[in-house]
Symmetry: D2
Subunit: 337 residues, 4 copies
């Protein structure tokens, strides 16, 4: 392949801008060739300090541009399917921010298109896999050092939610990370989802029930649960406690400078996911670039995107019924085995 990845970034919102700056300033072996946003001003602003990058309003135009040989998709999820199929047509490296697509059917169509292409081109942006502690816990599980993994308890807290954040988004945009994490840690598919709704905080917007307690099971029977709490006020927190046959491991604990002042000891809570996972994003994008330059993907596949979409569908149904809802998956194509 060519010496450098020349990336078209689709979507110049918060995540898009973040990735543009990352590619432009910190990632080795890649450059931003184009930025696409339906809002032309936004696209132009995004390339203002990126010499050599062009601003476009049409994704297909970017894919067709001779300077572009890779694509990073950072638009809202409902816009993913079209550009994914178009990029697969071009047979170029694709990094698609999660979700792959917003529902299992459309995700399955993407999987089928990639299967037809015959090689994996799509990497999905589940960046937590690149967090140092996630990686270490994953290795520890696979090593068998502490015996079999039995229980996975997750806390997922946001200080608050953007306007219009619905109960469905609480599953599709937030818990989706734990769906992937459970699959990553166990190497198994999730078989059922149940949701408990209890006493809500008064800090949630109207129509949103927060916190929620999401109960998962995997194919071997690992009991996983997620305390999702998206108006937790005090800050951002993503933590996991894994119980094994011979021990317990916690990740996501607070760190940083330790201060004693005014009668209290402690430190600062991470304010948001950008700060919490900044290093993970860098590692993720570098892994994608390094792999893409060798014609591979370097992380979660389209199948991972499809399987988590199926979990989300079950989760949203479970939220409404309170019952344990099975997760239905098509058979896994050989391409992903």
């Amino acid at each position: 392949m060519t010496e450098n990845l020349r990336v078209a970034v689709i979507g110049a919102g918060r995540m898009g801008i973040d990735h543009i700056q990352r590619l432009h300033r910190r990632i080795h072996g890649a450059k931003v060739a184009a930025v696409v946003d339906i809002d032309q001003d936004r696209a132009r602003a995004a390339v203002a300090d990126v010499p050599g990058a062009i601003a476009l309003t049409d994704g297909q135009a970017a894919l067709d541009h001779p300077d572009v040989n890779a694509v990073l998709i950072a638009t809202p999820g409902f816009l993913h399917e079209e550009i994914l199929h178009a990029a697969l047509e071009k047979d170029i490296p694709i990094l698609c921010e999660k979700p792959l697509t917003p529902d299992a059917d459309s995700a399955w169509r993407v999987v089928q298109a990639e299967e037809k292409l015959g090689r994996q081109r799509i990497q999905v942006g589940f960046m937590r896999r690149y967090d140092a502690e996630y990686a270490q816990l994953g290795e520890l599980i696979r090593s068998g050092e502490l015996g079999e993994l039995l229980v996975l308890h997750h806390q997922h807290r946001n200080p608050n939610t953007p306007p219009g954040f619905t109960n469905e988004m609480l599953i599709n945009d937030s818990v989706v990370h734990e769906f992937d994490a459970v699959r990553f840690f166990t190497g198994e598919e999730i078989t059922s989802v149940q949701v408990r709704l209890g006493k809500p905080t008064r800090n949630a917007p109207a129509g949103q029930h927060d916190p929620q307690h999401v109960l998962l099971e995997t194919s071997s029977g690992v009991l996983a649960d997620v305390e999702i709490y998206v108006n937790a006020q005090y800050g951002y927190e993503v933590a996991t406690q894994a119980s094994f046959e011979q021990g317990v491991v916690s990740i996501g604990n607070d760190s940083g400078p330790y201060v004693r002042t005014q009668g209290r000891w402690g430190g600062k809570v991470t304010p948001g996911f950008v700060e919490r996972f900044a290093a993970a994003y860098d590692v993720e994008i570098q892994a994608w670039v390094d792999a893409a330059l060798e014609g591979r993907i370097g992380g979660p596949s389209a199948w991972d995107g499809y399987a988590t979409a199926a979990c989300c569908e079950a989760g949203v149904e479970a939220q409404k019924t309170g019952a344990k809802v099975p997760v239905r998956l098509n058979e896994k194509p050989a391409l992903y085995s």
Copy 2:
């Protein structure tokens, strides 16, 4: 009342011996007057280094003895009901190790007997309420400083279980502490119990399913859960994480000397409940003695014993069915309000 409590300790097993030594060596305002055990040798051994205490094999004889003016019951739970009624007859201060009795019906009969007596004489040995961190979390919840309490997550781990420890005992002897804790923290009754059984450890004895995930709800909808894991190998652990509208509080974290050696940092895990709650037991017994000398009880009441017995019954049923089982309670007598 007389200047000192002269206590008959019923039962000279592990807990009994522990309380005998505590009363004899550390508690102010009380002495051990008698020790009762059906095994006469065990009773005699227990008083060997307790000058002035007599060894008996019959509980009624101890209650009738003129030197005895209070009773501490430390026999297995199925033996509690008879001695409780006999002690209520004597109208003397009673500290009854948990459980009050092994089922809700017998516990209700004890409640009714005490109600008939017309004053609270029975204190139940839920010692966790006397743990410094439990007390502090309780105060914090009642203060409203962090808003409303929404979620209570509990970890309860034992290194292993004694021979013959059944699934029912896992609820009745272990989770019973969290039933009381949830009631203590929330000041509410528990309304339902559900139990999840997942992948079991290979370290559990035959017939015992371990770990289990117990889901509780309280009357205001607080979502509580308990990861009970009684063959956790690595040590003893009792921890709680409480999520509020404006923050999160954890208790039961590791402490003690912090060592770095051989490539690792950390400290020693508490080996068992005796070490973990030694100070709480001292505080509990001193609180009972101090209150008894003033004609009161100084802790959990017979009603608390009854209500947790009802939770245990629901828990054992939930364990078998997997369904959410409601907790049924009689109306609370005015004596306990």
Copy 3:
């Protein structure tokens, strides 16, 4: 000996009141027989809720009283020598709050008087030895598990100082605890003291230089130092870090409930020594009572009081000169070996 210690508490100031309540409410095997204070009202107030205890203004009268068979000295240090000699005359158990006496010469006279008596009657109130973590670190050092102890780093911080707290008191009342701690941990005598005065806080009262850095050496060459900082504002802290040939151990780290709220994680700093060492005081006094009832002492001896007094003298001189000042000790009498 008689069944109970009947203690005359000399001095009804802050520490005296604290010990009176401890003996009256929590300690097994002892009662408060008399309280002595030159301020009669203070003495009376101190016994108001202690049935059977009498209020006196004269220490000798208390020692002569037939109800008294032990003495706890909690007056300021400059008043200790006289009552110590009088109590040794009576040959009764003595618990003397630190310092034994304010200087090495007077402390040596007390040691000689006790040596003449021929048995150890005096226990000095270095209560840190009874703190659970101090005890554990002491055991770890003696075990040799981590090889030889090489370095002892101490932090000693108070939120602020009472009026009239001088530079000398900073050594004699504060660092004296570390002098004893270093001797306790190493089992060796301190051979020299040096004091560094750097940039002072603006929160210290006029005439007081704070913080100070105190450098100690022991007979085998262990390098110890103390960061003494008595106007640290944020709370009370007593911590030690011990470096061994094969590891490092820290004690005195923060614990208690762990809170995340308002963007920060952590907990509350202990406000003062009473809260920090409350349990240690209870253990200390119980150890004294238990040992006294058997005719022994249960803790630091008059020799320990003398040796730390000699360290304090060297420390105060070092504070003035900046030079390394040797600690001069008389030969240790056989009674203390």
Copy 4:
């Protein structure tokens, strides 16, 4: 300037290799143009997987090569002076691993050469300044949020030392980092150094006295000290505790996954400086590249290199005499103000 930095790396030892891989795989805006090592095989091996980089044995040849427009010096310190002068002649960006040179006189000659050149070209590799916690503590000090900084306590531990590591190297190669750190945190020069030698570990090689206690003062009187312990066995540790007028801040505490198993809680100690400061090295080199592309330096200057060399000289003298040795500095040239 040109679009990319084309770096000649001088020295293909451990640090050189590390920087070559960093520049080749992770740093944006730079590439490895040449690697120089007197051992030709080593130079060739170092460029084997770096397409486009040439292997040389002569530093001047590299500087003269048209593909080279920047230099990173990673040879032993005694070889630095010659290549520094040669690179200043070329007026190109220079990153020089610490020490700038091994003694104050040669460092001063480098400072004078750069002053004559008239602009700062030399950045010295004190990478700790780029550690996230160091940076945060530095900001906190400068903010004045906790009042004035009064005391800086440092622990610096290595598991063991390479063969031939002398007492002088313990100052020049190890404590030199704290000399820079104290200067970085306080923004002041160090005015004196004293060294205490106590009980040594039996794990040090012959002729090396370990641990040592290094006492520093700054121009405003901040008391700093360093516990340097280079055969600490258990792992690598670099920690600082800063005491302010209104609080205390600690950095360098253990973090990472928290494990409970086999009766103990805790995690893994960082094995060495590469793991501890890997992220800091990346940030440092990226900062150098970004600044160099704009014609600036992005970190510690030649003056910093000179001033720490003067501290090292005083430290080595202090080690031999035990006395407090003043640090002598020439007047600071205007170029560095």
